[in-house]
Amino acid sequence: MNDKVISFPILADYNTPIKFMIEKMTNYEVRLSPKMTKNTLEIGSKYSPDYACLPFKYTLGNYIETLENGANVIMQAGGGCRFGYYFELQKQILSDLGYNFEFYSLTESDVNGISSIYKTLKNLNPNIKRVRYLYYLLLTFLMIYYMDKLDMYIRKNVGFEINKGSFDRVKKSMLTKFSKTRGFLDLIKTYYYYRKKFKNIALDKPKNCLKVGIVGELYTSMEPHSSYFIERELANMNVEVTRYTNVTFLLITKRFKEKYYLRKIKKYCKFTMGADAMDNVARAKILIKKGYDGIIHIKPFGCVPEIGAMKVLENLCDDEKIPIMFLTFDTNTSELGIKTRLEAFHDMLLMRRGNEK
């Protein structure tokens, strides 16, 4: 085989740090799949089993597009719930379609995530040293952590910017800067520089704006395409949005917060309910305690743990008298339908506020 071209499925803006990490560690070219479109999902669902969950279809679509584009090594993160089994079936489907490629799941070779990624990358680049690997891994983690921190701020304020698109512009330039990071000091400097820049963006934010929290399945929450840009839609209605699901949470904080979360919702849950179900219930509770006006729960069709969480969330929101809306995304979900429901939800929240006064 001639030179290797590595690719991985798109996950919102996390492309930048992941691309950075793989490039630094393997010295091969990384070619991302083309921008996600409706077509991605269409191709993906054509070759997927009927009632597989939606992320499976999106990522399969990603792979096919990127293989057409010239990539010949595919990497996938693997992980909990059904994600861990995706890679084997996707590999089978793709090779039955006649593609020639290598497929790596970062977490397949070992129970321990960090050493597993190391082993996988060692296949691609036998010269990689442990020190170099750890250095770049930490650098990438830090980058993701900073991104998530800034994203929280962006989500809260993007609906109130005076010049439309100023947040997007700054973010874009930040990502380009991040992808050229030279080291820890450089990264920290960049972070503070852009944090200042974000804080300096002119805002027109009323004190008592509507606040909505988004909880739900991780892929749908993080990849805006799969939720039909629900966050942007809400921002356009001048709503402050908070969502806690991000890569930092999945990789690091999840395991430390489990006990704390369980204690928070003792009344409703005794155990963790698989995947992020229990975490989402706890987060909904935290959001309600913080005075949010409404909760939106999003999930792809057929997400078993989240269906379990829905019943609990319903009870929780009934007791606290906070409106909650459940959105399910499927291959045939109409964008307009989602928009209508969001608008109705927004109007309802506004009316509730009026009644309280």
Binding site: S48, Y51, M273, G274, M278, G302, V304, K311, V312
Partner: protein, 304 residues
């Protein structure tokens, strides 16, 4: 000893896997049990009413059974099982079962929790449950051990009966389907009753040899980590040369099945059909599909 209590066991989901274990455990301890009747349309209707519309059919049936039992018994047995072996998992429905039911009904739940990944084995879980019921450690442990022996015996008998069926000279079909579906009145029985009417012998993939090879599934799928699906794949590997065709039966929308059945269809070279049952399935449509599938199998046999 405490007052006489009755424990309700819903005849759905894990019941079909553990009924012998549970019943002999409680019998050893001298506790009465009440088992809900076979699934009927009333139970399904009640289940549908009390679950989210997107939950899988097996879950709806389960909730229906609990609804039936809730006023008739003191406690309802609802286990929570995360993993039965290290590194393995069960469908997340089983880890959420307790909390879902607790949030649906106002009932007393008798619960035991198995999570081998975190060091809680079945034995410990049962001892803890026995203690909750007011029995000592040793008494519970002995009851568990006796029950486990009973369970092993029953499994072995089932397996030997199946072996006998395999040796008969009839058209044979392997039914790949979770235990809780293949034995259910409104899911598996629909299929197996029809097959028996056509004069076909049904080999159940969910009846496993308790002493058999547990790693056969690796031939089909190496990374599989759902225990129950692994057991099914083991059976496929064991029986596939002895049967004429394979039927994959699952309920809508079963998560693990959606991926694993697709994997099988890529890997196994055998006549197969995938049947998906939801709450609206009609019997007529099912009959037609089964009949034509059996006709194809018979035709092959004839020309050989």
């Amino acid at each position: 000893m405490n007052n006489k209590i009755t424990i309700g066991i819903p005849r759905a989901l894990l019941y079909y896997k553990y009924n012998v274990l549970w019943q002999s455990f409680f019998k050893e301890l001298g506790i009465d049990t009440l088992i809900s009747p076979e699934t009927n349309y009333e139970i399904l209707e009640n289940g549908k009413k009390n679950t989210m519309s997107e939950a899988c059919l097996s879950m709806k049936i389960y909730v229906g059974h609990v609804d039936y039992l809730k006023d008739k018994v003191d406690y309802i047995l609802v286990p929570r099982i995360v993993s039965l072996e290290k590194g393995m998992k069960l469908c997340t429905n089983f880890s959420a079962l307790y909390d879902i039911l607790n949030n649906t009904f106002d009932i007393n739940i008798l619960n035991y929790n198995i999570d081998v990944d975190k060091g809680i084995t079945e034995e410990l879980a049962f001892i803890k449950m026995g203690q909750e019921l007011g029995f000592g450690k040793i008494l519970s442990l002995n009851a568990y051990k006796a029950a486990k022996k009973e369970e092993y015996k029953q499994n072995k008998i089932n397996y030997l009966l199946q072996e006998k069926r395999l040796n008969r000279n009839k058209t044979k079909v392997l039914l790949v389907c979770h235990t809780y579906n293949s034995n259910d009145n409104l899911v598996g029985k629909l299929v197996t009753d029809n097959l028996k009417e056509f004069g076909v012998d049904v080999i159940y993939a969910d009846i496993i040899n308790p002493d058999g090879d547990r790693l056969l599934y690796k031939n089909i799928s190496k990374a599989l980590y759902w225990t129950y699906n692994q057991e099914l794949l083991n059976s496929i590997e064991e029986y596939k040369d002895k049967v004429d065709g394979i039927i994959f039966l699952s309920t809508f929308p079963c998560g693990p099945d959606s991926l694993v059945n697709e994997m099988c269809s890529h890997k196994i070279d055998k006549k197969m059909i995938t049947i998906l049952i939801d709450e609206l399935s009609t019997i007529e449509g099912l009959q037609t599909r089964l009949e034509s599938f059996i006709d194809i199998l018979r035709k092959d046999r004839f020309y050989e």
